[in-house]
């Protein structure tokens, strides 16, 4: 594969082909901060360049691999101290559930990409997917924060994701 040999032209093509889709995901996680989202996109592509040897075709498509790099990088940024400090005026951590729920309703106006799909879900499902996919909370964290059993969290997320598949058809 040309990419694994770090072919410059192939990498340029890769950027042109996928940057928009990945930028969209990054922006859905790092909201209302285009400058930071651009920095994350840059970091993501540098990481793709460095880690391309570790991409394993048998585990999924190249885009899936890149999408997960973009999502993880975005969530790491979201959870970093510097970002948290800049967002101090936001809700306190013990109020995250409410906070996320509020954010979700607030952002309906300019929803893009996958978040548009979430619109079709029931609120209790939507919040969980939002928290898991766009905020990076683990199932355990969500169960604890919301005071619902871990099994229920898992079931609801699975159901929500299945509905997502239907919608994407």
């Amino acid at each position: 594969m040309a990419l694994k040999e770090r072919n410059n032209q192939a990498f340029g093509f890769l950027y042109d082909h996928y940057a928009g889709a990945l930028y969209s995901i990054i922006k859905q996680i790092i909201i209302d901060n285009n400058e930071l989202a651009s920095d994350v996109l840059q970091e993501v592509f540098i990481n793709i360049w460095r880690k391309i040897e570790t991409y394993d075709q048998s585990k999924g498509r190249l885009f899936t691999w890149m999408l997960n790099i973009a999502r993880n990088a975005s969530i790491d940024t979201l959870r970093s101290k510097s970002y948290q400090n800049s967002q101090k005026n936001q809700e306190l951590p013990d109020n995250v559930y409410k906070g996320v729920a509020n954010q979700t309703t607030q952002q309906n106006v300019d929803n893009i990409g996958l978040k548009k799909v979430l619109e079709t879900l029931k609120p209790e499902h939507r919040v969980l997917v939002e928290m898991a996919y766009f905020k990076g909370y683990t199932h355990e964290e969500m169960a604890e924060m919301m005071g619902i059993p871990l099994g229920t969290v898992k079931t609801r997320i699975r159901n929500a994701l299945l509905q997502l598949r239907q919608y994407l058809k």
Partner: protein, 270 residues
Amino acid sequence: MNIKDYIESGIIESYVMGLASESEKAEFERYCDQYPELVEARRKFEEKLEAYAAQNAVPPPPEVKVKVLEAVGMEPRIAAPSTPPKIINMENQTDRRSSGVPKFLAAASIVLLIVMAYLYFQTRQENNDLSSANDRLRDKVNETDSIMKKIVGEQNAIRDSNTLVVNMVGTKVAPKSSANVYWDSASAKVYLVVKNMPQLPSDQQYQLWALIDGKPKDLGVFDATDNKVILQMKNTQKAQAFAITIEKKGGSPSPTLEKMQSLGKTMVTQ
């Protein structure tokens, strides 16, 4: 495990979107090795997700690409930094470069491929021909070998000191009939050499008999046209005389003596 239920459980979506736990991931990858339908379902979801993401793409600021290419050690072509035709520049370059030597190499490799295919088929054809010729030759050798062995065996039997030669002379019914019987009294084997026996209608055959104490014993049938050198007949331990009669095709249980063609006495008898 029911793989259909597993596919419909939402695990595919969890895995692809990075929401599965480490143990779920490991399990999913293990099942992927076992169930091609799981891999197929995963691929479908991935394609949908990719198509959806592409539809909802948001163009990033152009300077990001410049920074990325600089960071990975490439010289980004800065034609007009705020417009994206950089892409076109690079693709054009690709096209121009591929028009010279690579095209020649592509053409050469196709020619080489055709030549090799031709040589391959030709060699295979020759090989097939040689192989079948070899088979035919081997069959011929085997056939000749078995005939030779048979002849040598018969010759040995005839030359054996125990073998008695009985000259069969024609009777009044058929004065010209003549044949020789070779009887090996030790092994009880009986051979017959037809010298001159008239042709018979197709529903009749000659039958050889051994006469023991006046009673005939069937030694088998033969045709006048039998082109074998020596016929091996049925064995007999005793015989005072041999007789040949004409019988219906396949032989009779007892000889039709009025049609006796020839008779020969062994020297053992009086």
